[in-house]
Amino acid sequence: MSENSLGLSLNGKPRHFEKVPDAERLLDTIRWRAGLKGTKEGCRTGDCGACMVLVNGEPTLSCLVLSREVAEEKITTIEGLSTEKVGRLVIAAFEEAGAVQCGYCTPGFVVALAAQLGGRGPPPPLETLLDGLEGNLCRCTGYLAIQKAVAAAREAI
């Protein structure tokens, strides 16, 4: 492998990119090289959660990760989740609850919630699920509808 090429496992598929600087963030590789624009750039300081993706199933802020640091891990974005059962259920719950205003924070919320609902066994208590969304900000402040969506998604699992 040449020094500048980068291999990533993205949504279950091996992807290969050329001339990737070592300083490149996972967020930028996902959006600008892989062209997956569902992952959003919000604050770029790890505060807002809009850039959230899964790394080996763990919610992770892609703005604060160098792409090369996760070259050996499994990365799942909102696009990948939308083809899986749990992801689809969560997305449907957000749609039905009208938990989308401008929509910019929505992929991050869906990723953070789907990660918590994806495990085996019964879903965690509602309060635990809401705690798990502590790092996701909705600048439209549409939290009530989001809470309803979380409760509905939990019931639907």
Partner: protein, 289 residues
């Protein structure tokens, strides 16, 4: 911003790479949640970034009397260990207060410690638990109390080619961590208060964060708590003593006098909470009576 990322796979190789670089030319990357911000705003502009990712330092090792946490273990992994919550409640609380779950899946214990921020939510509880730090460097391995690692704001006594390998804690200790913030999330604490009760030696430990020039133990306040079961009066006295002795600054998050008042209240609550946890930790005592 451009740099070369290097991934040593052994501690010896990492130390060699650090030794061979001029200070400022190389930066150490653990979880990256702070470092990447410094690189973004050009506070740091290293030629090379040394990632600790391939070093075998991700672990929690329990023994009869200690817990050793590898320095690159993500905080989330410590938080998710059920024994940590049960045996070291103050540590669990402090970790839960760092950032958000997604941040904690990257941020590491060694990174937080090596950073040495006066506002760290983890350093006060590590001080209160008498944590020891294992450091590797050109001269081999050395171990020191966390108190001797900290120097000032963002300054530690680590040499330029030294790395934190692990942190050793007691296997269990009734303990508490409390903080006050302007807003509960996405903010750093105005002050943080950690208390712990250790069976050996002087029993009580009180440590403060958000004070100058670095987080510190409050031995004067600890001295006011001679027994395992201090009276309300002694607890109040210890709280006042901690508030009186600590050095605070006024900044955008709080004035000096407000921080002082917070410490008095939080030290009292933290000791009370720790006392409640001690009662719960020994349920057999009531049964025997």
């Amino acid at each position: 911003m451009s740099f070369q990322l290097v991934h040593p796979s052994t501690p010896a190789e990492a130390v060699r790479l650090l030794s061979g670089s001029a200070t400022g030319d190389i930066a150490v990357l653990s979880g990256g949640t702070d470092l990447l911000l410094d690189l973004d705003n050009a506070r740091l502009a290293p030629k090379r970034v040394l990632s600790l990712r391939k070093l075998p330092w991700r672990y929690l090792r329990w023994s009869a009397d200690s817990l050793v946490i590898g320095s690159t273990t993500p905080l989330r992994a410590v938080e998710n260990d059920g024994e940590v919550r049960r045996r070291l409640p103050g540590l669990w609380e402090a970790i839960r207060d760092v950032g958000s779950p997604a941040l904690r899946s990257r941020a590491t214990l060694g990174g937080n410690l090596g950073r040495g921020s006066p506002a760290s939510d983890l350093i006060p509880i590590l001080l209160a638990l008498d944590a020891r730090v294992r450091v590797v460097g050109p001269g081999g391995v050395r171990e020191l109390p966390v108190d001797l690692l900290l120097q000032g704001s963002r300054r530690t006594t680590l040499g330029p080619a030294e790395l934190i390998e692990s942190v050793t804690l007691p296997a269990s200790a009734p303990s508490t961590y409390l903080w006050q913030r302007v807003q509960p999330v996405n903010d750093i604490s105005q002050v943080g208060v950690a208390t712990a009760f250790v069976p050996q030696g002087p029993h009580w430990r009180i440590a403060l964060g958000g004070v100058q020039p670095r987080a510190r133990r409050m031995s004067e306040a600890e001295g006011v708590l001679p027994s395992a079961r201090p009276s309300h009066f002694e607890v109040e006295l210890a709280a006042q003593e901690a508030a009186r002795r600590a050095e605070f600054v006024s900044d955008k998050r709080a004035t000096e006098s407000y921080r002082r008042r917070l410490v008095a209240v939080l030290v009292r609550r933290a000791i009370q909470t720790t006392l409640e946890r001690m009662s719960k930790a020994t349920p057999s005592r009531k049964a025997k009576r």
